[in-house]
């Protein structure tokens, strides 16, 4: 046993798979300790906030201000307001106005703005210029006004008695605050989803639930398959015929269709994560049962089983001691694959809207479902679905790697 374990951990496939998997498990366990926020709490008003660091604006006015004289700060600010499209439009107008094209450098923001401010005339029209174009240039002119101004912004509050604005503070363009001194900063590494929930927190909670679903489904499927396979393989005869009849029935009905039908008929109210897990397990035991049965049949005529019978051992003892250890490696491998396929089956069900009830827990499949319903993929809000896909892929990948690694150890003929 020890020897086998050591061999398994020498297989590179298994080690890589196991590392990825333990990393996922560790994250799922440790993250909630540091970020104890409830995963389904709606924090954002609005949908799909981009990933980033969110600093409270009100608190930042009250935070101590520092003056930093940094080169290029102005041009950076201007550049962030003036995009390439606007620059090209300005160039187009200026060329139309009569300035030679080679004198206009659209990358030199300050020179371009100066040229624009001195020359722009909203009443001027060139041949081929439509009214829409003219209005566009006027809008553009309005938006670039004040870009070059170095005046401070004024913060004022309304005087309750007179109703007039009273200046309380001035914010210079060289004023800075220290983010660590702002009372409220929220980092949203993966932004928010359609309901305004933190995607990362939700994703980790969903991974935990999905893994649990996978484990429960795997245990249910492996247990059913193992018991039926052992009994039908070892006893043979009528018992075998009956069990194989049921197994064949389950084989010919596509399990996913069965899964859909069962989860649909359970109804929305009954569909908790645990129920879904059991339903998935209940529909995927067939192959385990068949494989276990065929292995048991080849084992039951082995001499060591006969010898055990001759030593007067009972059927249960023989199954547990003389047959189970020989198929244990296979069962463990099947179990790992069942977990991964359980997670995938949950994702598949949830995308169809047949997953666990939506209000209680997030699962990876549900997150995909929500992202799909709110058209995150069309709107380009990648953070709502892409991390989920990566997580599912990583889980399935690591499980399959572990399975191949174990396969190479247990079936040495597959090596090389």
């Amino acid at each position: 046993m020890k020897h086998t374990l050591r061999q398994i951990f020498r297989s590179p496939n298994f080690v890589v798979g196991f590392s990825i998997f333990s990393l996922i498990i560790l994250t799922v366990i440790i993250y909630p300790i540091f970020v104890p926020n409830p995963p389904l709490q709606i924090i954002a008003q609005g949908t799909f906030f981009e990933p980033g660091i969110y600093v409270n604006t009100y608190d930042s006015f009250n935070a101590p201000s520092y003056t930093l004289k940094l080169d290029g700060a102005d041009s950076k600010r201007i550049a962030s307001k003036l995009n390439d499209e606007d620059r090209l439009a300005m160039q187009e107008w200026l060329v139309g106005f009569g300035i030679p094209e080679n004198e206009i450098d659209i990358h030199d923001t300050e020179a371009l703005l100066n040229l624009w401010n001195t020359n722009f005339d909203p009443t001027k029209r060139f041949p081929g210029m439509t009214n829409a174009d003219r209005n566009y240039f006027i809008r553009l002119n309005n938006s670039v006004q004040g870009l070059l101004s170095t005046d401070p912004a004024i913060i004022a509050v309304t005087d309750e008695e007179t109703g007039s604005l009273v200046e309380t503070d001035r914010v210079q363009q060289t004023d800075y605050i220290n983010v660590s001194q702002v009372a409220n900063v929220r980092i949203l590494p993966l932004g928010t989803d359609n309901f305004g929930r933190d995607v990362l927190t939700e994703l980790i909670a969903a991974t935990r639930v999905s893994l649990l679903i996978g484990f429960v489904a795997g245990i249910v499927a492996t247990l059913i398959g193992l018991i039926l396979g052992l009994v039908s393989g070892y006893l043979g005869g009528l018992v075998d015929d009956v069990i194989m009849f049921i197994t064949n029935l389950f084989t010919v009905i596509p399990s996913f269709v069965l899964l859909i039908l069962i989860s649909f008929s359970i109804g929305q109210d009954q569909r908790g994560a645990f129920t879904i897990a059991v339903v998935i397990g209940f529909t995927s035991w067939v192959w385990t049962a068949r494989a276990v049965r065929s292995q048991v049949i080849s084992l039951r005529n082995r001499d060591h089983v006969n010898l055990s019978k001759l030593s007067g051992h009972s059927i249960v003892y023989i199954i547990v001691n003389d047959i189970l250890p020989y198929i244990a490696s296979y069962v463990v491998m099947a179990f790992i694959l069942q977990i991964s396929s359980g997670i995938l089956a949950e994702a598949g069900l949830s995308i169809l809207g047949l997953g666990p009830r939506t209000t209680e827990v997030p699962t990876l499949g549900l997150m995909m479902n929500w992202a799909m319903i709110y058209q995150a993929h069309i709107l380009g809000k990648w953070w709502a679905y892409f991390p989920v896909i990566v997580t599912i892929a990583l889980i399935a990948f690591s499980m399959n790697l572990m399975n191949t690694g174990m396969d190479q150890v247990f079936n040495p003929t597959l090596r090389d």
């Binding site: 019978k309 001759l310 007067g312």
Partner: protein, 270 residues
């Protein structure tokens, strides 16, 4: 001999049919066998002759389709687990392949302890159990100290098969069914196994059914030889009479086709 020998095991018209309809194969066909106390009886047959099926029927591992088996004059009853246990106290087996005869997940001690338990020694003190195991191992020239806490796959084939004999020594059955116990073992170790088997037979007065495909080996070890072809016994008799003066054509062919050393091996008669 004036003293009538006791009839231990007898089979009357035993048949075994596998499958049904068109795929019916008769593995054992109407076999009669009488086994007297202290005899060594060989069942000789080529592969597919049904000798292993017959041995499993005699052991009670599979049920015969037809016929009856009498143990010590009484019809054998193995309908329940308890009755089977009782039967298996009297009849035990050594199988062909020592490498597959052991559960590789159990230590060697387990194999021997099982036998002590079966002989009613379940509640013996530990020292007594160890003493019994030591005695059994030394009987087959193995050292218990070297075997304890080891797994079967750490032994050589010959050692494994000797451990099987040690197991029989502990169980002390009335009948031993040896199913090709030496065919997977090198010629050098074969003599040791046979010697120990015969020694054991003297020691505990055992009756042996020896199943083999090697007619020379059958001749060497047994008092009585039964030649089996396609599920039937074609010739039965004392070893000398069957091997040296065969009557049935199949027996003649079998003996003629085995390569010999002192006599000419006639290649023209194929």
């Amino acid at each position: 001999m004036t003293l009538e020998k006791k009839l231990y095991l007898s089979a009357k018209g035993v048949s075994k049919v596998f499958g049904f309809g068109n795929q019916k194969t008769v593995a054992v066909d109407n076999v009669d066998l009488d086994l007297y106390e202290g005899e060594v009886v060989s069942i000789v047959g080529e592969s597919g002759s049904g000798k292993t099926t017959l041995s499993k029927i005699l052991l009670g591992l599979i049920n015969q389709t037809e016929g009856d088996i009498y143990f010590q004059g009484v019809k054998r009853d193995i309908s329940s687990h308890a009755k089977k246990r009782e039967y298996w106290k009297n009849i035990q087996a050594i199988f062909q392949d020592p490498f597959s005869s052991y559960n590789t997940f159990n230590k060697i001690d387990t194999v021997l302890l099982d036998c002590i338990n079966m002989r009613g020694g379940k509640y013996f003190p530990r020292e007594k159990k160890i003493e019994l195991m030591k005695e059994a191992c030394s009987f087959v020239n193995l050292k218990f100290e070297e075997l304890t806490n080891k797994y079967p796959f750490e032994l050589s084939g010959g050692q494994m098969q000797r451990l099987m004999i040690a197991r029989i020594f502990l169980l002390k059955p009335k009948i031993l069914l040896a199913d090709e116990p030496t065919s997977m073992i090198d010629a050098c170790s074969r003599a040791t196994i046979l010697d120990e088997l015969m020694h054991l037979r003297k020691e505990i007065g055992m009756t042996i059914i020896f199943i083999t495909h090697d007619i020379g080996l059958a001749y060497y070890v047994s008092d009585k030889v039964c030649i089996m072809e396609k599920g039937r016994f074609v010739e039965t008799g004392t070893a000398d009479s069957v091997i040296l003066t065969p009557h049935h054509a199949y027996t003649k062919r079998l003996i003629n086709d085995v390569p010999k050393i002192h006599e000419e091996w006639d290649l023209t008669t194929v």
